[in-house]
């Protein structure tokens, strides 16, 4: 993969590397030419890797003490919180880690949207990313069920019931998912099994995601192809490693504030009440990171159509490389797209807000308008924009802007002042 052949110095190293080229891989990763104009929005890939590993390590530890049984799950979580050494720390890292993971993944996704990182030749990276995101949602949803609190139970009931909207086989599918006639012990044990499995699937996909990234190399804020290696690039180590480490530490400070000082603020109080099939909570709300999709689901009056709309809202992202017809990647050179991009960001935030509110009156109306706009953005605005938009001329390289041109890229401006 590397442009130059790596030869280990030691005799043993050479012997080993001829049989399994791990050292070649390590050298490729260290030398990997990276555009030097990457900004801090690019540090979230590393942050996400950290989040995944944190979730796996804390999750494994929790699984050693957790009991996946409807009568014992809630108690075993309290056992972890009270009697397991630093159990409270591990559990709070894991539960807040899920929120931090989603916070980082949303920033990562919206960075791709802004800089057009999903465009040719990076479609496969993008699609693998969408699959990872889907698996993350599944893992998070099932993980939320495990403490067997009221929100766990009723959230599981509401979400699994969505499948009953499928004509003819819907009810059968739901009972198959439950392993019975309601959410109960068989549901809990299978959710635990899948919650344990999915992170490792994600880990495998992350390897593919990074592998696919290393073929074309990173996109960058200017969005033009970079010759590599060249003076436009820096080796991954130490330049990007140290920058990622810095950003990761900033992220960890925020993370730590949640874990140590408001560990329950992102959760719902009702989940500290043990699951009770006879008592329905006043409002059943999913975790904050699923709220925009929950809003889309509820904004459609028909149940089946609502489920279809919710799924399409995610799957439409997979088609994005072909829906966005513009050849220009970075929004920096697309004045109109840039405005629509920010409208989309606001739209999704609004969807998240109304997702937490009761689906009635003005909230429902807002949710419907925002849902409609979400689809209009991807299905109408993006395809049309590609041919209609007047874009700003691209610089020739990330270090040399076009002569006389005044690109708006701040990166380019900075270069000018330096040269």
């Amino acid at each position: 993969m590397s442009d130059h052949e790596y030869v280990p110095k030691s005799k043993f190293g050479k012997w080993f590397n001829d049989r399994l080229p791990l050292l070649t891989l390590a050298s490729h990763l260290a030398d990997y030419p990276t555009p030097k104009n990457l900004n801090y929005w690019w540090t979230f890939g590393g942050i996400l890797t950290f989040c995944l590993i944190t979730q796996i390590v804390t999750g494994l530890t929790l699984a050693m003490h957790y009991i996946a049984h409807a009568d014992l799950a809630f108690e075993s979580v309290e056992h972890i919180m009270r009697d397991v050494n630093y159990g409270w720390l591990i559990r709070y890292i894991h539960s807040n880690g899920a929120s931090m993971f989603f916070l980082a993944v949303y920033i990562h996704i919206f960075r791709s949207l802004f800089y057009g990182s999903y465009k040719s030749p990076r479609e496969i990276i993008w699609i693998i990313g969408i699959i990872i995101y889907l698996l993350m949602m599944a893992a998070a949803f099932m993980g939320y069920v495990l403490p067997w609190g009221q929100m766990s139970f009723w959230g599981a009931t509401v979400i699994t019931n969505l499948f009953s909207a499928i004509p003819l086989v819907g009810v059968g599918i739901v009972e198959w998912l439950w392993g019975g006639y309601s959410v109960d012990n068989p549901t809990l044990t299978r959710f635990f099994t899948l919650h344990y499995l999915i992170p490792f699937l994600i880990l495998g996909l992350v390897v593919l995601h990074i592998w696919a990234l290393h073929i074309p190399g990173n996109n960058n804020p200017v969005g033009i192809d970079v010759k590599k290696p060249s003076k436009d690039t820096v080796p991954f180590h130490p330049y990007i490693v140290i920058k990622d480490a810095f950003a990761l530490l900033m992220f960890m400070i925020i993370f730590a504030f949640f874990v140590f000082y408001s560990p329950n603020i992102l959760g719902h109080a009702d989940n500290y009440i043990e699951a009770n099939p006879m008592v329905t909570p006043a409002h059943i709300v999913p975790e904050w990171y699923l709220l925009p999709f929950y809003a889309i689901l509820r904004s459609v009056p028909d149940k089946l159509m609502g489920v279809i709309a919710m799924l399409s809202a995610i799957l439409i992202l997979a088609a994005l490389p072909w829906l966005d017809t513009s050849k220009i990647r970075s929004a920096v050179f697309r004045p109109l797209y840039k405005q629509f991009y920010w409208i989309l960001v606001v739209d999704v935030l609004i969807l998240g807000y109304v997702g937490a509110m009761p689906a009635e009156g003005l909230y429902l109306l807002i949710a419907r308008v925002a849902t409609a706009y979400y689809f209009i953005h991807f299905l109408i605005i993006l395809p049309v924009l590609g041919s209609k938009e007047k874009t700003i001329p691209l610089p020739l390289s990330i270090t040399e802007p076009v002569l006389g041109g005044a690109p708006m890229a701040s990166a380019v401006k900075k270069k000018e002042s330096l040269n």
């Binding site: 330049y239 810095f246 603020i265």
Partner: protein, 259 residues
């Protein structure tokens, strides 16, 4: 560097929004100073011990606390009764143990390792004795209500005569802060309901504050060590971040570019 601030602002903005959403159900709850809030928040030992007294003399008649053990009463970060005191407290209660070598169940005084003895055998028995309402277990109650300790404190002090137009059934009481304003628990705290041994005057507010502090500890027995560790962890992270920042500046100064 400008970008870092942008990112940080955005994150804080987002998270503030999220916590806002989760806090939307809050009505105007009564406020009091909780010693356990804030970066260095600690429990007030005296308040915890008094709170235990209120719990055991007033609440424990109906409310269980099934995840807390007698040994917890003498552990650091809690009421910190001495081990002898905790043993004596436990010995006041009886638990069924066994079977013994004859195959018989027997009754013995509770030990430090036992969980708090429940007032009722099961949920049905609790409901039967309380007009059909189940007095919730209090182990994690302070975390199980939106509004947390402020809500519990307000509820304890929120009993009022029902406004005109509201009719109450027998055994139902009016409470300003209860969801739906109707509650099956009669007003639990009246002035001097307990007699504090440390001389503190047992006003309604004082007892409500003490017992709520005790409930917070019961729900989060490791709160103090969490706050202590959090301060050290965050301080360490900030120092490390500064060091890494300067390392980064140094490394990137080798090439002509801006980080």
């Amino acid at each position: 560097m400008k970008n870092i601030f942008k990112i940080t602002y955005l994150i804080i903005f987002l998270l503030a929004g999220i916590s806002q959403i989760n806090a939307e159900e809050k009505v105007d709850l009564l406020k009091t100073d909780w010693s356990f809030k804030g970066l260095f928040g600690k429990f007030d030992r005296g308040s915890l011990q008094r709170g235990y007294q209120v719990y055991t003399e007033v609440c424990a008649g109906c409310h269980s606390m099934k995840y807390v053990s007698y040994r917890n009463l003498s552990e650091p970060g809690g009421p910190e009764f001495s081990e002898e005191q905790a043993k004596a407290i436990a010995a006041n209660f009886e638990v069924t143990d066994g079977p013994n070598s004859d195959g018989e169940m027997f009754i013995r005084p509770a030990k430090l390792s036992d969980k708090f003895v429940k007032p009722f055998e099961n949920v049905k028995a609790a409901q039967a004795a309380n007009g059909g309402a189940y007095p919730p277990d209090m182990s994690v109650l302070a975390k199980a209500r939106s509004g947390g300790v402020d809500y519990i404190y307000s509820l304890l002090l929120g009993y009022e005569d029902a406004p005109s137009g509201v009719t109450l059934d027998d055994g139902v009481y009016y409470n300003k802060y209860m969801y739906g304003n109707k509650i099956k628990m009669s007003q639990p705290l009246m002035d001097d309901a307990v007699e504090y041994s440390d001389g503190t005057k047992a006003t309604e507010e004082q007892m409500a504050k003490d017992v709520t502090t005790f409930l917070m500890w019961a729900a989060e027995p490791h709160l103090e060590s969490r706050h202590k560790m959090g301060f050290k962890a965050i301080l360490y992270l900030i120092l490390l971040t500064i060091l890494v920042y300067f390392s980064m500046k140094k490394i990137w100064s080798r090439i002509e570019s801006e980080v």
